[in-house]
């Protein structure tokens, strides 16, 4: 009797250990599959694209011959589009975050804005393209210009900036606000002299993330009508334009193999930029978290 209980227990323990082992193997396999895919993706793109990537590629305009095609127009377009996007989205996004965190009373209206921002963050990017097409391109008469594209992108990244800036502002300790008030500061003085400088690294993280997102966005710009073949650098905000991912898309959809190498070379540049930005954001976030946890002690 006693013996059989001990036997049952040992079988049970044996079974549990087997389950543990199986799970660990499965989990390891899952991690390896995910990381392996990432590695394969990076390797595939670099093997295809690196031989094509040289100074001539970066400094030439697109061409009908794959070996002469370059990415200059798209690089310049992306660069200007990002600057314009940030100029519009950062002040509005940070302003909205300050309003929600520091001014808004906890009533139905601020809850409505909050819910609204959360929902906007989940709207597919291509829908923003439809908005841009009807609102900026048609109704406001901006045409298929750099400015119309940048405004579309600005609306797209606004939720990211608002959400991250709010989180950053929220981490500023209450004691600092109280101290500023105690010395007679007005609300805005307290915000601009204390809250904003202290939450700057966090806000910057959000800005970097949104820039990285905007650089990689293709669908909304295609939808609002950015051109796919542009052989000039944008001359002003109302100039037609193309961007890096659209140029890549254009090369991918051509049948000639030579253009696929161009696409891969373009992707190498795009990947390097976005991965660098993401790494910078993660570094900033970690560094910032450490600093603040030390402060709040």
């Amino acid at each position: 009797m006693n013996n059989s209980v001990a036997y049952d227990l040992s079988v049970l323990i044996q079974k549990q250990k087997q389950g543990e082992r199986l799970f660990k193997i499965a989990a390891l396999a899952a991690v390896i599959i995910s990381l392996g895919t990432l590695a394969a993706l990076v390797a595939d793109v670099f093997i295809d694209g690196l031989p094509r990537l040289d100074w001539k590629f970066i400094s030439s305009f697109p061409s009908r011959k794959p070996q002469e095609a370059g990415i200059l127009a798209a690089l310049a377009g992306s660069f200007y589009a990002i600057i314009l996007t940030a100029l519009v989205a950062v002040p509005i996004g940070v302003g909205a975050a300050i309003y929600l965190e520091e001014y808004a009373q906890k009533n139905w209206f601020s809850r409505f804005i909050e819910l609204n921002v959360a929902n906007l963050a989940g709207v597919p990017s291509i829908i923003y393209g439809l908005l841009g097409l009807d609102l900026f391109v048609r109704a406001m008469g901006l045409g298929r210009s750099l400015l119309a594209g940048s405004l579309t992108l600005a609306l797209l990244v606004l939720p990211i900036i608002i959400i991250t800036a709010r989180e950053a502002i929220r981490t500023v300790p209450l004691s600092i606000r109280d101290a500023a008030y105690a010395l007679g500061a007005t609300r805005w003085q307290m915000i601009k002299d204390h809250v904003l400088p202290l939450s700057l690294p966090g806000i910057l993280t959000g800005v970097i993330l949104s820039v990285s997102r905007a650089i990689g966005e293709t669908a909304p710009l295609i939808t609002m009508g950015a051109l796919t073949y542009v052989a000039f650098v944008p001359t002003g905000p109302l100039s037609p334009f193309t961007v890096l991912p659209i140029q890549i898309f254009n090369w991918v959809s051509r049948p000639q193999k030579g253009f696929h190498a161009c696409a891969a070379a373009g992707i190498v540049i795009l990947l390097l930029v976005t991965l660098f930005l993401n790494a910078a954001a993660i570094f900033l976030r970690n560094h910032y978290q450490k600093k603040f946890s030390a402060r709040s002690l």
């Binding site: 899952a30 804005i113 990017s125 291509i126 439809l130 007005t186 609300r187 009508g225 991918v252 992707i267």
Partner: protein, 300 residues
């Protein structure tokens, strides 16, 4: 006298600042209103030409042919099919990794592995499109001889990898937030680590985990470039993952690339399709957000 003047300026300045900041906050509301207004306006014009019943029940989508049909079902089915393939990949991988990171991994492993996996979310979707078309599809063609160059299987699998960080990060957060006392109680009753994970932590974090699935589906449904590049542009009403299809997002891209004049029926179709896409993701986001909020109320 001088002091009260200064005070007046200060009060006025404070008011002005508050007004500007309020305006910034209102921009997000204008954006939503703008989206709804634009979609509604063009969709209503579209439904004046095409009866809504045809739109919902017709099984063909051929707005560019002479014999025009406006049935959304091929595009809708294609969207669901690719999202389903993606979820079949992302749910097991994401959940296994999440349980592992939350219940098994040491702090060090967790701190290193999580950001690396989150890199997957930072890769632009056009890169995934290239990868699906020129790497995964040829690879799959060696295993499945009948596989078409454009199909829903390859971009579906790649999309699964793409949305994995979303599931991983949200469901891992949910599991990590389950109170230690629940685990301790189960351990004290002689449970193994796996039993604690599967029978205590996962059920306790269930609403958070479900929320991560729903938000991932929403993301998959709205994904555009990956599908436009690798899944084809053929509105096929099929559940066969081996043949070319066209998702709702791809259709919008296809029309936008052409030169469709403003005000024509073709122009309005992309808004009608966009409306379906918007409503669908909107419902998913609301449900996902609610579930996430419910979970937070419970534990966080």
């Amino acid at each position: 006298m001088f002091d009260s003047n200064k005070k007046k300026i200060r009060v006025r300045k404070e008011f002005l600042v508050k007004f500007c900041l309020f305006f910034c906050g209102a921009v997000s509301i204008f954006t939503t209103l703008g989206i709804v207004a634009v979609l509604l306006f063009e969709t209503i014009s579209f439904f004046k030409e095409v009866p809504i019943l045809n739109f919902l029940t017709d099984t063909q989508w051929t707005p560019l042919f002479v014999n025009k049909h406006f049935g959304i079902s091929p595009l809708f089915t294609a969207t669901i099919l690719t999202a389903a393939i993606a979820m079949l990949v992302a749910i097991p991988l994401g959940l296994l990794t999440a349980i592992f990171l939350s219940e098994y991994a040491s702090q060090g492993v967790r701190r290193i592995l999580k950001p690396i996996l989150e890199v997957l979310a930072g890769v632009p979707t056009i890169v995934y499109g290239y990868f699906a078309l020129f790497f995964v599809t040829p690879l799959l063609q060696k295993l499945i001889p009948g596989l078409h160059g454009f199909n829903s299987l390859s971009p579906g699998i790649v999309m699964g990898i793409m949305i994995l960080p979303l599931i991983l990060s949200l469901s891992e957060d949910a599991m990590y937030a389950v109170p230690q006392s629940l685990r301790d109680a189960a351990f004290a009753l002689g449970s193994s680590r796996l039993q604690v994970a599967l029978k205590v932590v996962v059920p306790a974090a269930f609403s958070g985990i479900t929320a991560s699935f729903i938000l991932a589906v929403s993301r998959a449904v709205g994904e555009t470039m990956l599908m436009a590049i690798a899944a084809g542009q053929m509105p096929n009403l099929t559940l066969n993952p081996l043949v070319p299809i066209e998702t709702m997002t791809t259709y919008i891209v296809q029309i936008s690339l052409g030169d469709t004049p403003y005000g024509t029926l073709e122009y309005q179709t992309i808004f009608a399709v966009g409306m379906v896409l918007f409503l669908f993701t909107f419902v998913l986001n609301i449900v996902g957000g609610k579930l996430r909020g419910k979970f937070r109320e419970l534990y966080v």
